[in-house]
């Protein structure tokens, strides 16, 4: 890929600016326009992503993982979304101040996304090569011929066999795993600083998932980019992430380094998630489940949003505003009032 490192920035050149944090998010709030007015779907998410690391974002469906990342990348529909934050910084760009047009220029060379369903993110009417080339032409002003050549190189890099021939084919001619490789090639095209992978392997078979995870690992090692990996599978988290952010009901409730979080969870929700994962290597354990359901948007409980499902909930947890995020150890935060009194069970 060295040959394709673009002049319009990229991980290598950005490293010179000296900062170690590629993305900084503090108190992100996202409102979305629904039929019954504005609803707050993300309400207080804070995290940062350092250069070259993989941050996992975990949580159940509807916890706001995807909306968080789409908002950061400026990919939510602008008229139906309000994004606010105390800090929202991507490299040296203050994202809260960018217009949609400016954001669109910033996006390609800095942040790109890989989605769960590659079939719906690829245009069925264009060849795969054209779709990669388009990104290069849009963001780097590459010529038609140059962008085609680099599209083939990128396909080769992501492990698509006979890339020159495959570049002339349409998405329907690719298997699910191969389509995901094409998506990764598109995401890589401008050599971004951050790649957001939103459940990129959820729709794939396990053996293909293993191939794609391996590919992402390799690419990250080569380019030193940051990866935000959204998933609900704690096995995948244990396999690829360095640090983890746990989300519940639109809020970040815990964040820590991978081993810390699994060995010593400090939020009852994370303890519950760990206990609920069926383990192939430990089948005799009964499958625990967290009782009840996550709250609906617009019907958030008072106090700690997890309290109606929490086995440790005390009176103090049930009223007032949500507990604040507290630092409980180095690089380990939790949003639980009782964290100091509780001894939670992990899964080292």
């Amino acid at each position: 890929m060295t040959a394709t490192t673009g002049s319009a920035g990229g991980a290598a050149t950005r490293a010179d600016t000296g900062t170690d944090t590629t993305l900084e998010v503090d108190n992100l709030v996202v409102d979305v326009l629904t039929e019954s007015g504005w609803a707050t779907v993300v309400d207080g998410v804070s995290f940062d992503v350092r250069r070259g690391e993989t941050l996992g974002i975990v949580g159940e469906s509807g916890s706001g993982k995807s909306v968080t990342c789409l908002s950061i990348a400026g990919l939510m529909p602008p008229r139906q979304t309000r994004v606010r934050a105390d800090t929202l910084r991507l490299l040296d760009h203050d994202l809260t101040r960018l217009t949609p047009k400016q954001m669109s220029d910033v996006r390609g060379p800095t942040i790109s996304m890989i989605f769960q369903e590659p079939m719906s993110s690829l245009n069925p009417a264009f060849t795969v090569g054209d779709q990669i080339a388009e990104v290069l032409r849009r963001h780097e002003g590459a010529s038609r011929r140059e962008s085609r050549r680099r599209a083939v190189e990128l396909l080769d890099r992501v492990g698509v066999p006979s890339p020159a021939r495959r570049a002339t084919q349409y998405p329907f001619e690719f298997s699910g795993g191969m389509r995901q490789r094409v998506m990764i090639a598109i995401a890589l095209a401008c050599n971004p600083d951050v790649i957001v992978a939103d459940e990129p392997t959820t729709a794939l078979d396990v053996t293909v998932q293993a191939q794609i995870l391996e590919l992402l690992r390799e690419i990250q090692r080569e380019h030193g980019m940051s990866v935000i990996f959204i998933t609900h599978d704690l096995g995948v988290v244990a396999d690829v992430c360095d640090r983890v952010l746990v989300m519940y009901a639109g809020q970040s409730v815990e964040s820590a380094g991978l081993d810390d979080l699994f060995e010593d969870p400090r939020h009852p929700y994370m303890e519950g998630l760990l206990a609920a994962m069926p383990r192939m290597d430990n089948p005799s354990e009964a499958l625990a489940s967290i009782p009840g359901h996550p709250p609906r948007v617009g019907a958030m409980p008072d106090g700690c949003r997890f309290h109606p499902r929490c086995r440790y909930a005390a009176d103090a947890c049930t009223g007032g505003s949500a507990p604040a995020l507290e630092l409980v150890a180095a690089h380990h935060t939790t949003r639980c009032l009782r964290h100091a009194e509780l001894t939670l069970r992990g899964n080292p």
Binding site: M178, T207, V208, Q211, L213, H232, L273, P278, R279, S289
Partner: protein, 347 residues
């Protein structure tokens, strides 16, 4: 598989063939989605059927229920042959085998009250009076852990987990003996998924239901199954008791499949050996000669490219179809993991 007690369901050499046109005006190509699948289901047990997409696990289920017409083989339910049964008799036989699908959003009619969705199989198979029907639906709802008042609601008022409970209530309405669960918990969040698995375990203990549990999530399959069968390209390559298959896989495909599942424990995950298979599963319309897995197998030998391996006994329980057990290193049923290195195998 060896029948110990009289099997409830006995499937032999099941074949399902499709003949899609690859292109308009071109010749039809024959695609054998299920190619000689045999297994038994004993009363009260859970058989897990695993494999990757396109391996034929769902088609096996559909074939044995005759939702697609098999092109060969035999399916016996308590000794009675289902293939070739006339439509009317098939309908009564189907009462004993019910199916639950993955997507609870599309398997409930959105315009029908819960009462009628669940009551429908009763109308077909049991024919109850109005009050009896309502009572029976109430009982079914209680059995799947939902309050009976829900019977006058519509499906859109329920969450995914609750809907899956409703489809289970409907599936057990006419007292079937066997439930075929095709990725029944795959679309649910882990916590909800566990609640539904708990319900299934409860039902099997209470009313002695027998399950054919089809899923791609191996952790879930290990948890719920007594026995497991692994499919690759339309055939069963290995089967046996769940603990034996997971702890001592005898087929290289099973070994690779298991190694690909990440374990939710960073320490364990870092220390595990990972076998990353190259390539995608081959196109089922162009099945490789010899062992179907040889194109992706890290142990492939010359014999694998030409000869189809027969099923031979695996150590502990079940059977395996792999030449390593009869030629080459002669594993004779032992786990492939007993091969110290992959280089032990002659190229």
């Amino acid at each position: 598989m060896t029948p110990s007690p009289e099997p409830l369901l006995s499937v032999r050499d099941l074949e399902v063939t499709f003949s899609p046109r690859k292109r308009l005006f071109r010749e039809r190509v024959e695609l054998r989605a299920v190619d000689g699948v045999s297994f038994d289901l004993t009363e009260g047990e859970t058989l897990g059927l695993v494999g990757e997409s396109g391996c034929g696990k769902s088609t096996t289920a559909r074939g044995l229920m005759r939702l697609v017409e098999p092109s060969g083989g035999s399916v016996r339910l308590e000794g009675r042959e289902l293939l070739g049964l006339p439509a009317k008799e098939l309908r009564s036989a189907r009462r004993d085998i019910q199916m639950v699908f993955q997507d609870p959003y599309s398997s409930l009619d959105p315009s029908m009250l819960v009462r009628d969705s669940i009551g429908e199989p009763l109308d077909v198979h049991v024919k109850l009076g109005r009050t009896e029907r309502v009572e029976r639906v109430a009982e079914l709802l209680r059995r799947v852990g939902l309050p009976p008042e829900y019977m006058t609601r519509y499906p859109h008022e329920f969450s995914g987990g609750q809907r899956q409970r409703l489809t289970i209530a409907r599936a057990i309405a006419a007292d079937p003996k066997i439930l075929v669960l095709d990725e029944a918990v795959s679309a649910l969040d882990v916590s909800t998924q566990n609640q539904v698995i708990g319900l299934l375990e409860e039902l099997s203990a209470q009313i002695g239901l027998t399950y054919l549990f089809i899923a791609h999530d191996l952790s879930v399959v290990r948890h719920i199954s007594d026995r497991v069968a692994v499919m690759y390209l339309g055939q069963i390559v290995e089967h046996g008791e769940a603990a034996r298959v997971f702890d001592a896989p005898a087929h290289p495909y099973t070994e690779a499949l298991l190694s690909a599942v990440p374990v939710p424990s960073p320490k364990t995950q870092r220390s595990r050996e990972r076998i990353v298979l190259s390539g995608d599963p081959p196109d089922p319309s162009r099945v490789p000669p010899g062992c179907r897995f040889h194109t992706r197998c890290t142990y492939a030998m010359d014999v694998c490219r030409t000869e189809v391996p027969p099923l031979t006994p695996a150590q502990g329980s079940g059977e395996v179809a792999c030449h390593l057990h009869t030629t080459g290193p002669r594993l004779a049923g032992a786990s492939v993991r007993t091969l110290a290195t992959r280089s032990e195998v002659p190229a």
